[in-house]
Every structure is written in C-alpha cells, then in structure tokens.
C-alpha cells in the first residue's frame, strides 16, 4: 500500500523527522488561510497523487504571494496530471499540499528499502538529490552509499557515520544527520514500511536537515497491525476493478489485450498470460482465483473480466489441487446463468476432480464453451477464438 506525501510527512512528524510546515487542502478557497497559518512569504503548492514526477508534469508550483497560492491551488485541484508514472491517461488531482518555502543549501537523497538479495533493509544516501535516483543508480552507482541494517541490532552510530562520511558532511552536519537518519529508521521499521524515500533531503542554510519530499510504501502483509496506516488508504489511487476483485479474494490486474484469463495460482496465472502471448494473442488481465475458489468467486471473476469491453474470449485454466475442478465447473455454469457471457470460453481443467468437472460442462447446454486438453492446446484455442476464427 502507498500513501500520499502529506500522509508520509504526518508519520515523519510523529517520529521527529524534520519536515517543513505544511497543510493539505481539498478546496482552493482554503488555500490563503492555509498559507497564512504556515507563515512566511514564499510557499510551494504540490499536487497529491501517488505517482512520481509531479513537478515535471506541472503539479508543483512556487508561489510568491498569497494570491499566487490561491491561483495555483485552484489550477492544480481538478487538473489531470500526467507524469511518467501515471500512464497516458493521467491522474485527477483532488488534494494539494501547501508548504512553506525552505532556504536550500544542498539537495541530497536518503531512502530505505528491503534488499532482497541481502535479506535485510538498507538505507541509501546520495549527494545527487533532487533527480531520479534510478538514473543515478544506473549511471553513477558509486554515488549511492548503502548500509544494511539488521533488525536485531537496529540502527547504530556506525550506520550513520558511514552514510555521513560518504556524503562528505562536515563535523557539525554529521551529528545532525545522525539524528535524522536514526529517526528515519524508526519510521521505516516501526511501521513495517517497504519503502521510505526522501528526494530531496535538504541541507538548509543553517546546516539543518529537512525532508522536502516524502514517499512511503508499506508491506501489505503487516497492515493488520497498523490500523492507523490502513486508514490512510486512498481508494481513488487504485483501480476500481482491482479493489472489487480483492473483496472477493481474487487477485486481478488489468492489462491491454483481448484474451481474458481466469486461473488458480499466481505462478500458473502468469504462465497462462505468457503462453497466450507466445501463441500470438494478448492477455487482457491477470486473475488468480486463489486456493479457496468456489462457484461464486468464479462467477464474480467472470463478471470482472467481462467489464473490460476489449475481452473477445476467456481462458479458464485450472489445475486442481485444493481447488476442486467440479466446483469451478459449477461456477462457470452459475456465471453463465447470472451474467450473459457472449464471448467464447475455453476451459482447461486438470487435477483434482477434473473428470467430474468435464462431465458437468459436457452435460450443460452451453454452446460457447470450448474444451481443451492441456495448457498448450488451451492457449492455441483461446487465441484462435479471440481472433474470431
């Protein structure tokens, strides 16, 4: 789960990670009051969407008067912001964050993420702040300093020193940086974050560190113990079909092709997409019905797949283990009773109770069902069906 910048900064504040004064608003008419409350004579108005690259897309503006604050707030709220992360359709902005201006001496980068190969969280720092860190990693990997942190020892002084010396900080700055980094580690570890990123981390004219931006993502598996974070979930940022699917225990990701797929198991679902592509088709979605698939979840799966008007044929690929194929077969029949399925359905059922399932399908009066014997056969048949031949 991801959250907005202003929410990440609320969490930062709780752990004494310094942030600029700021306020989130949803109506442009509140902009001037917010700016007055923040104080000063220069403000930044920032669009709150989950995607990065907001500045380049016109979603971040520097305001030099209260009038400008209001002007930019009204321009940004309601705009459709397109960045390299939103996709071509862009994202409707509903909230802006107004922040006091900061006297910037230097822009740095500081982040924390799980290193899967090392099996530990790592904190990363770089002198190359304010630019895309992926670019720095690819072009100048020596400019990124990394320290692994064992959760059993926690964040120690040497972690901070390694990073600080790597950033060429002065003696006074090192002390301040150490406090900052330690607080950031708390933000990461105590909230089961999967990512914390500050880009840029600003060194101010008076040698203080302050988080100018803030990005946070969380380990979905740990959300059960962070009710406060779960409340920060913004459903506007998620695909409605994916939300609906998850409510029924289905894992769904929409893609651009025309062959719908319904599969049990994430690995088999991905492989099914792959083989459709190999046979010359394009998958319309990833859909894992999970290990507890019942007739009604299968019916729901059909409903979600068919909401996508591009879908020209559906492949049901089930290898029954715990999931019994006869239940899936009944689900297919139930679905075709409740939802009008006009596209051809290629069905491949193997494993537990496959024989019974094939009988159930065979006895039905459905005319748009095509049986397949194995994975390869199923893929060829569904691609053909989607092409209408």
């Amino acid at each position: 789960m991801n959250i907005h910048e202003y929410q990440a900064k609320q969490i930062f504040a709780k752990y004494d990670v310094p942030i600029p004064k700021g306020k989130m608003i949803e109506k442009a008419e509140d902009a001037i009051d917010a700016a007055k409350e923040i104080g000063g004579n220069i403000w930044v108005v920032k669009a709150q969407i989950h995607a990065g690259g907001r500045g380049k897309g016109g979603g971040v503006k520097l305001a030099r008067s209260l009038d400008e604050v209001e002007k930019y707030a009204s321009e940004i709220i309601g705009m459709t912001l397109i960045t390299h992360q939103t996709g071509p359709a862009g994202k409707l902005v509903k909230k802006v964050y107004i922040e006091g201006g900061i006297d910037i001496k230097k822009e740095l980068y500081l982040g924390m993420v799980l290193d899967r190969a090392k099996e530990l969280p790592v904190m990363m720092a770089s002198t190359e702040g304010g630019v895309e860190i992926e670019k720095v990693a690819a072009e100048m990997p020596e400019k990124i300093i990394k320290v692994e942190i064992d959760p059993l020892t926690g964040f120690q002084g040497y972690h901070a020193r390694e990073l600080a010396f790597g950033l060429n900080l002065s003696k006074e700055q090192i002390k301040e940086f150490g406090k900052f980094a330690k607080a950031l580690y708390k933000v990461y570890s105590l909230n089961d974050a999967s990512l914390v990123e500050i880009n840029p981390l600003v060194l101010t004219a008076d040698d203080k560190f302050i988080a100018l931006d803030a990005k946070m993502g969380f380990d979905d598996n740990a959300l059960f113990r962070h009710k406060d974070i779960l409340e920060m979930r913004d459903l506007d940022e998620e695909d409605p079909a994916e939300i609906e699917a998850s409510e029924y225990g289905l894992s769904y990701v929409k893609l651009d092709g025309n062959v719908g797929c319904m599969v049990n198991g994430a690995g088999l679902a991905m492989s099914t997409m792959d083989i459709i592509k190999l046979e010359g088709g394009e998958p319309a979605n990833f859909l894992d019905v999970g290990g507890k698939a019942s007739a009604s979840t299968v019916a729901k799966g059909f409903e979600i797949i068919l909401k996508d008007p591009n879908v020209k044929a559906i492949l049901v690929n089930i290898f029954g283990g715990i999931v019994r194929c006869d239940r899936i077969a009944n689900g297919i029949l139930e679905a075709t009773e409740t939802t009008r399925v006009e596209v051809p359905i290629v069905v491949r059922l193997d494993g537990t109770n496959a024989k019974e399932a094939i009988e159930i399908i065979g006895k039905s009066s459905l005319t748009n069902i095509i049986s397949a014997t194995d994975l390869g056969d199923a893929a060829r048949k569904v691609v053909k069906a989607a092409k209408g031949v």
């Binding site: 992926e134 999967s194 990701v253 994430a266 690995g267 492989s271 083989i275 190999l278 998958p283 893929a379």
Partner: protein
C-alpha cells in the same frame, strides 16, 4: 535417497487442530507421511486424527522425536511458530502460511539459520518426496516417483510442471515449492546443492518468476557447480512493471527482476530455458534421452 524428507521423517503439524491444519494433516497421512503428532497451544493432551496433540513444540519433540514440522497457523503467529520449531531443535521447518510480515520473516530466518534448521517457505506448497512423504498442501496423486528434482517459486504451476514431467514418463524424486515472498527460507541455490548430491535425481527443473534476483544468482552457481542437466522456466514475461502479480515477491522493480533478464542469465550458464510453460515435460525427456 531424495532430499529433505522421506518415509523416515517424523512429522508434526503446528496448527494441527485448526481447519487448515486438520485438512492438510489428513491429506499428508493419507499420502503415507509419518505424521507423529501435532501442536495447538491449549489443546495439549488431546488426541486428533489418532495422534497426540501437544501445547508446545518442545513437548512434541520430547515425546515423538519429531524432526520435521509443517506449519499451518495464521500469518500473525507464523513467525513465532517457525522460531518455536527451530528453538526446539526441529531440522526441517515447512511454513505454508501466506501473508507473514516481511520483517517477521527476516528475523525468523536469521534464527533458523543460527539453529542450523532448514526453513522452507513461507507462502509455499511445501515439500513432497514422491511415494514417501508429503509435507505440504500439494495434490499428492500428481507426483509419481521418478528421477527429476523440481524447485519452484509457485504453487499450482508446480503441480502443472510435475504433471508434465510425469506424463513424459520421468517422474519426480523430490519437489519443493520455495515460496513467492520477497524473503524466503531456502533459496534455489540451497536446493541445487542437495539435488546435485542426490543419487536418485538425474535432472533438475527450476520454475522461477519475475522479481528479485534469486534465479540470476542460481545461474552463476549452476555454471560453476552443477553437473546434472537443468531445465528452467521463468513465469511473468508478459507482466507489466511495478505491478504485483499475486505473490508478494512477484514484482518488477525498475528494470530489475524481469523474466528476460533471468532467462538470459540461465541460458548463459548452460541451462535449457523453455519459452513455453507447456514444454517443460518434453524438454526434460529430450535431454535425459540424449
């Protein structure tokens, strides 16, 4: 021979009396697994499925000399269960549970390593040594005895692939589902080492997927250390970047962890990489019959 589990393994089930625990323990027993008991805190002293129930793993070890544990407890308690098993001296710990917080897995894994135990999973189908022992949730009937060792990050895809290997008249020695989470107990390399030494295994199948770089590390290891033929498939060539494909670990971050990158590394290491998930069975037969 075979690896990790066989008919002499003395297996307990943690979460024994729960719905999942009961169902899968029954299935394991039906397969012929030597299930010697189970653990459910607060239900010690009872008998379940004809086997004793204990309050703690320590008591189970004392009474049954168990060496293998199958964990089927809810995610909030699973890391605790893993560490309890390791502390009690269990050597092979198979954790099926899906949805354990990553931070908990990191800590549990460090502890199992320290105790010298092998942790399989979490979020995996478990281990099966064909016709000997099933310590997991896979459909046993698919896995017919044979000479192919199987290592997989996935669940149902493992059954699909094992089925293909069986239909190609080769059969399975041991199959292990290592799990699809970002951090897992036993890696592909750990199992390659065991299969290389196992006399019963003549060829190894690796079923990887997008995310992380475990397959790339395995490729480097295979090049230097594995003499048996290896056939691999990587799921997720068509997966979009930045989208989690079901498994918590199956996500392409930036340009890293793509299927193509892994396929290239494995091919370079001399592994036969199949493009189509439907070709695993035929390919292994082709190589073994050469």
């Amino acid at each position: 021979m075979s690896i990790l589990v066989n008919k002499t393994s003395r297996v307990i089930v943690q979460g024994f009396t729960g719905k999942e625990g009961t169902f899968h323990a029954e299935q394991c027993i039906a397969y012929g697994t030597n299930v010697v008991g189970g653990v459910t805190p607060g239900k010690g002293g009872q008998t379940h499925l004809g086997r004793p129930v204990f309050n703690t793993v320590k008591e189970a070890v004392k009474a049954t000399e168990t060496d293998t544990s199958l964990i089927l407890v809810p995610p909030a308690f699973a890391a605790d269960a893993i560490m309890e098993a390791a502390a009690a001296g269990i050597k092979v710990i198979v954790c099926i549970t899906e949805g354990i917080p990553t931070r908990d897995v990191i800590i549990a894994k460090k502890f199992t390593d320290k105790q010298g135990a092998t942790l399989i999973g979490p979020n995996c189908p478990g281990i099966i040594t064909a016709d000997e022992a099933k310590v997991g949730i896979m459909p046993g009937f698919v896995f017919k005895k044979g000479k192919v060792g199987l290592i997989s990050k996935s669940g149902t895809l493992t059954y699909e692939m094992a089925n293909q290997v069986v239909l190609a008249d080769l059969g399975i020695s041991t199959a292990i589902g290592i799990g699809g989470d970002p951090i897992i107990g036993t890696t592909i390399i750990d199992l390659l080492k065991l299969f290389e030494k196992d006399k019963e295994t003549e060829a190894i199948v690796i079923i990887g997927e997008i995310g992380g770089d475990m397959e790339i590390q395995a490729a480097e290891y295979i090049k230097e250390n594995i003499t048996k033929p290896v056939v691999a498939f990587i799921a997720g060539r068509t997966a979009p970047k930045g989208k989690r494909m079901g498994h918590a670990g199956a996500i392409i971050a930036g340009s890293k962890g793509t299927a193509q990158e892994k396929m290239d590394a494995l091919t370079k290491a001399g592994v036969t990489v199949v493009d189509s998930p439907a070709d695993i069975g035929v390919k292994v037969r082709e190589i073994l019959n050469k």
